[in-house]
Point group: D2
Chain length 142, copies 4
């Protein structure tokens, strides 16, 4: 994936159910829960859209950790709101995958939050970053 | 510990710090967080009062899981409240430890919640209950 | 509802999605999250099955708090497991509703946890219990 | 605070206690919990270092929400680790406060995560941003 500047990756969407325990004293979804919604979408999309579930990574001795999250909050989410997480891989390099995301609200999918993130594949055994194998990169190139 | 009816065990107390993310839409500590406070106290007391930390259990191939929780909520806890968890082992049998607990609020330690619980020691490898070894029972007999 | 011993109430079921942030260091759903699953089902069933959503209670100046939870854990729930919460009102008295619940796992709905609970309706304004109004009791009598 | 480029603000530190429910399936503090640690520090420092607690903001009809978080994760935090959040206001403009933060680990305070954030003061009544009053700005100028 060295020469990837022009590659266009697909964006995928995952529905999220807002639970009562996600709501904080301000009567909206607590700001750290947005990261849990993002991670939920990531797991779902690994399984459904990229063809390699977290369980399969674990079986091969790998896991994923967050290295950077940059999130801008734009609209509050209330209990009962329909929430969709849209995520789009924008590239991969070494042990890292780059991901843009949008947390959308309501039927008309207004942007409640948006941002970008870097996730790193590490070895379960020693916790160190591992270069993403070619067959995984291949799966991520959709 | 078959013949233990008359044994009196010590009660121990652990201070808990209420975090903003513990507060729910009703502006008090969310009801499931009381269980997290109890577990925090349990870990602290394993280390400080019973002389065998969770880490040591893990090293020996054991972990603890909850088998039963019976909790009665009596007073709401707000952000800024001082919280103390008092816990007292009331007995042990096979793989299980029986524990009474009180979640206390404020300087005068009013009862915010109280209850009893059963925790079971299991093997990490196969998830099955393991009879608590005599040296651990010994430590719990304070 | 004074003379209600023989009344048989309906049981309702709500599907729960297990999120990655529900999983703890033992690689299964954390024990306090079962209470969050129960509350999620409660809210859903208030809206879908009893015809009065939490929002409607709030509008009338009421909210619900937990007064007692008795839960027995029987099987671990893993990420990817299908979870269903079945709940059945068993009676109501004064400000309180009594509820049995089962947290079910997998397609064959094995019991992962079961228990009973008491929820109390309170006034938002002063936090004190409020006798459940007849029209609400009527709705709960299904 | 228009002409504030050369102002140097103080950095403050808050100790955080890592709870068992903060640990995820990777056996380290879950990535969204870092935001909860940050918020805990923010509340503590509002009260202890800036002389105006969250409760006082609420009494005046204001609350704070996150508008942007940029966090880089550098080291995993395990149960039992000592955690300190250092935060430093870097400026304020309109309804917003800009904050750098470091989540530190161990006695030697290695950087587990670092980042910057924007928090916005809003009106509780209508949810809209409110220009930070001069007396609050004054308190933040330490």
């Amino acid at each position: 994936m060295e020469n990837e500047e022009k590659k266009i990756y697909s964006a995928f969407e995952t529905n999220i159910y807002v639970r009562p325990d996600d709501i904080d004293m301000n009567n909206h979804v607590h700001y750290s829960k947005y990261l849990d919604y993002l991670l939920t979408a990531r797991y779902e999309q690994m399984k459904n859209n990229y063809g390699m579930s977290m369980e399969e990574f674990l079986e091969r001795g790998y896991t994923w950790v967050a290295s950077n999250i940059n999130i801008t909050y734009k609209r509050a989410i209330q209990l009962g709101d329909k929430v969709t997480v849209r995520a789009q891989i924008t590239g991969a390099k070494g042990a890292q995958v780059f991901l843009n995301f949008w947390i959308l609200k309501g039927e008309n999918k207004k942007v409640a939050a948006e941002g970008n993130s870097i996730f790193t594949m590490i070895s379960i055994k020693n916790g160190r970053p591992v270069r993403i194998p070619p067959d995984v990169l291949e799966k991520y190139s959709v």
